[in-house]
């Protein structure tokens, strides 16, 4: 009888310890998950800022200003434009 009791006690202690460890493990993993989620949010923030930057840099007003002033580009007038017809008339349609 006493042997069975000792064995049960040992199992009980083992179970209790494993519960403690797994509980600890789960909290540790959860903290890690939290960290990753925070990192994800930070990336999302950065994505938003990059989107903003992209659309600010890419606004037609700015592109045109640079093209005209820095690159000295200009729109060709009709007199300097040639329209080339493709052999297949269908090919020119959009």
């Amino acid at each position: 009888m006493i042997r069975v009791n000792v064995a049960l006690l040992a199992i009980l202690v083992a179970c209790a310890l494993s519960l403690v460890t797994s509980r600890h493990q789960s909290r540790r993993l959860f903290v890690a998950l939290e960290h990753e989620q925070a990192a994800g949010r930070a990336l999302e923030t950065e994505y938003g800022q990059l989107q903003l930057e992209q659309s600010t840099w890419g606004m037609p007003a700015r592109v045109e200003k640079i093209a005209r002033e820095q690159l000295k580009m200009q729109m060709p007038s009709a007199a300097r434009t040639d329209v080339v017809a493709l052999p297949e008339a269908k090919g020119t349609a959009q």
């Binding site: 789960s26 959860f30 923030t45 903003l52 037609p60 007003a61 434009t81 329209v83």
Partner: protein, 584 residues
């Protein structure tokens, strides 16, 4: 041990034995009973706390180890038809404090001021302004807020917010609108689509450790719902083009205000809607309400001659005239009762085509008077005048089209050339889709639609084609708007030069307009231009507004890759000084 000590001990022992201890019989049970009772009280109290009145303690316990965290939800972006962002939110932080709990050394305040790029004096002023609550810095970049929080000043707190940015700035300001406090839309699409765009923040309960880090999820109370993105019909490139050309024309002609609308003929989508004056939605410190108005939809004006094609279309539909019917317009005036209608350039006998081409008021009035007023009213009404454009924009107006029963003959005559009726620019552009298609009016929308959209048939195809041909003549050298011509494309349209109503009558201020479409062989775009009070000497629609139409239409068709339908040297301007001018 000494003898005396032994003696002392022996005496004491003896004396205790000498007086035997006799306790009252009830004393021991009484003490026992009292102690037991106290234990019972404790037990009862603990039972009570454990099972019956446990809410308070549970609450307190939870408050010490669990927290409810807000999970932020993004407001949706507003993008143009190509996905280019017109409005988007990025996370920012605001710093605030309870001034009575705020406790910082002068060095800390100096450091805080350095981080926030302000002065210690300004921070102190903010703290002194209100004793309950003070914003130290509103909507700063997250990394700045983190550096400020790293100073560990007691009483300083931060909170997460979103800030809305508008990359399009003044170009798209009136369409997109803006949001106010708490990310709630206040103007434009931001206001109209608040429910679709706004996100609902979620919240969850977590267990925290002593460093206030979440260690375990207890329950998700509410899942966050991010706002939806919204695709507008606007094309950012065309919008910028429209804005640039409109602004150039307003500067050149010293106009007070102006608007430009580009409609897609196939779908009715509004590809561009530019307004002047405008403002920068990203910094709205000095913005007058008049700058915020989307004039193309919220303001009406008397359209003038741009209404004539509808009068002619009504007469053609009714079978009263044919395009080559001759109308006598000499001597250039027509007297109805006490009023007289004038032509700016008196002509003799004109065909119906020429009435449009040369914009004769007398001709249009005579044609209108030959029709029953109900027929004319029906045409104007089915073209969409006097009814809301229903583009999905807040604050749009319907304009004014009085019921036919109340028209007097002079009013019927003036309405034929666009006086006594008021419209907004989008209505005008939308109505012209009936000439650009084979007689169908497309409903105008600000939202992106996919594929072909069927219109509401108003005219017979033959009528639409006949009027389209007349409108093309307007842009020929004999018409009122040769300056509307575009190299490489056939264009059609109509000028308008309307006197503005001032007080009770018409003064010497004008609204110059041009509404047209291109390419005529297979129309793709309707472009409507309106300039309010051009005051640099020129005010005729054909001189002030038509060149804007020409440059916008030419560039827009090229950007959209629409094949040309005319040789590039198709533009023929009349000799200097021989241009035909019109009023109304």
């Amino acid at each position: 041990m000494t003898a005396a000590g032994v003696a002392l001990t022996g005496r004491a022992t003896r004396s205790r034995e000498a007086v035997p201890l006799v306790l009252p019989r009830f004393r021991s049970p009484l003490v026992f009973g009292a102690l037991a009772l106290l234990f019972m009280v404790l037990l009862a109290r603990s039972l009570y706390l454990q099972w019956f009145d446990n809410e308070f303690l549970q609450g307190q316990g939870t408050a010490r180890h669990s927290r409810e965290l807000e999970v932020p939800a993004h407001r949706g972006r507003i993008v143009d038809r190509a996905g280019e962002a017109l409005a988007l939110s990025t996370p920012v932080k605001s710093l605030w404090a309870f001034p009575d709990k705020f406790d910082a050394t002068p060095e800390q305040i100096a450091a805080l001021a350095a981080i926030l790029e302000t002065t210690p004096r300004k921070i102190n002023t903010r703290l002194d302004a209100n004793e309950d609550f003070a914003f130290i810095a509103k909507q700063v970049a997250p990394e700045i807020a983190e550096r400020a929080m790293a100073l560990r000043i007691p009483g300083l707190h931060d909170q997460n917010e979103y800030r809305r940015f508008y990359p399009g700035g003044e170009v798209t300001a009136q369409i997109v609108g803006f949001t106010g406090d708490h990310d709630v839309g206040q103007e434009g699409i931001e206001l109209a689509q608040q429910a679709w765009l706004s996100g609902i923040p979620g919240s969850r309960r977590v267990i925290i450790n002593r460093r206030s880090e979440a260690v375990e999820d207890v329950a998700a109370i509410r899942a966050p719902q991010a706002g939806h993105d919204l695709s507008l019909a606007i094309d950012a490139r065309l919008q910028y083009l429209a804005f640039r050309e409109l602004k150039a024309a307003i500067d050149l002609n010293k106009a007070k205000a102006g608007g430009l609308v580009i409609l897609d003929v196939k779908t009715g989508e509004i590809l561009a809607m530019a307004n002047w004056p405008t403002y920068n939605p990203n910094s709205r410190n000095k913005v007058a309400p008049s700058m915020m108005r989307n004039r193309a939809l919220t303001d009406t004006f008397e359209p003038g001659s741009t209404m004539k094609p509808f009068t002619i279309a009504a007469a053609l539909e009714a079978g009263r005239v044919r395009p080559d019917t001759v109308i006598e317009t000499a001597p250039g005036t027509l007297t109805i009762g006490p009023a007289t209608i004038h032509d700016a350039h008196p002509e003799g006998a004109l065909t119906v085509e020429q009435v449009i081409q040369k914009s004769s008021n007398v001709g249009a009035a005579k044609i209108a008077l030959s029709l029953p007023s109900a027929t004319l009213w029906e045409m104007f009404s089915s073209a969409g005048f006097g009814t809301l454009p229903k583009t999905g924009f807040p604050g749009e107006v319907s304009g004014r089209l009085r019921p036919a029963k109340s028209w007097r003959p002079i009013e019927q005559a003036t309405m034929a050339y666009g006086h006594g009726i008021s419209v907004n620019l989008v209505q005008l552009a939308r109505a012209y889709t009936m000439f650009a298609t084979d007689g169908e009016v497309k409903s105008a929308t600000l939202f992106k639609t996919d594929g072909f959209v069927a219109g509401r048939p108003v005219l017979h195809p033959e009528t639409a084609r006949a009027v389209r041909h007349m409108l093309e003549l307007v842009t020929s050298p004999g018409g009122t708007a040769p300056r509307a011509q575009v190299p490489g494309y056939r264009v059609a349209g109509k000028t308008g030069t309307a006197h503005k109503v001032e007080g009770r009558g018409y003064g010497n201020k004008y609204v110059a307009s041009f509404v047209g479409f291109a390419p005529v062989s297979n129309p793709r775009l309707v472009v409507a231009v309106m300039l309010d009070e051009p005051s640099a000497g020129q005010y005729y629609g054909g001189i002030v507004a038509a060149p804007v139409f020409s440059s916008v239409t030419g560039s827009a068709l090229r950007m959209l890759g629409v094949p040309t339908d005319a040789p590039l040297n198709n533009v023929i301007l009349p000799p200097e000084g021989s241009e035909i001018r019109e009023e109304t």
